[in-house]
Point group: C2
Chain length 112, copies 2
């Protein structure tokens, strides 16, 4: 055996903390990726109806996908009269992905 220590070291814990399966779960659906990509290309927020045009499913399904993305922190939303406006928290998402990449490399360097 190469490693007799079966307890996770602090580097493992740090990485496990940085890698958020809930975020990955939110992003693991092609329709939701489509929504994220659509929102990323827009300067202004979009309504559920706007977004429904981009993916070939019923708008009720889009509404549900938006909720999932919002709960994962990928999107934000606000009501504006009858409409609900959604937008991408692009900075947050990009930063989170980079933090994960950093955590992986830090862990590798500590291991080596």
């Amino acid at each position: 055996m190469t490693n007799t220590n079966t307890l996770p070291d602090c580097c493992t814990i740090a990485l496990e903390d940085a890698m958020r399966p809930d975020l990955f779960k939110a992003l693991c659906d092609p329709v939701r990726i489509s929504i994220v990509a659509t929102l990323a290309a827009r300067t202004d927020p979009a309504t559920v109806s706007d977004i429904s045009d981009c993916c070939g499913i019923d708008f009720s399904g889009v509404s549900r996908h938006l909720k999932i993305l919002k709960e994962a922190g990928v999107l934000s939303a606000t009501r504006d009269g009858r409409k609900v406006l959604y937008w991408l928290d692009a900075d947050m998402l990009a930063m989170t992905l980079r933090t994960m990449a950093d955590a992986i490399e830090i862990c590798r360097k500590q291991a080596a």
Copy 2:
């Protein structure tokens, strides 16, 4: 309406291409994140049995999780006698995550 163009622009397409739902799917399970974190902290490859010690499920389940991660390109494997050695493709994973972050920001800058 703020955007009369319903066709996806090239920035949307580029982002949708960079964001890989199949990779997110591989990483959306807590046990698989645990496996990734465990492998990241090791200098040498680990066997299925080694990895089974770290997560509280049957080794047959671990074997399946390893297969999923391997097919997503997160891990590599080689047989060594009776054992099968798995290791994390850490550079690939870190790079892919950063590429996604870049794609998001490029898309945002082009939209603005």
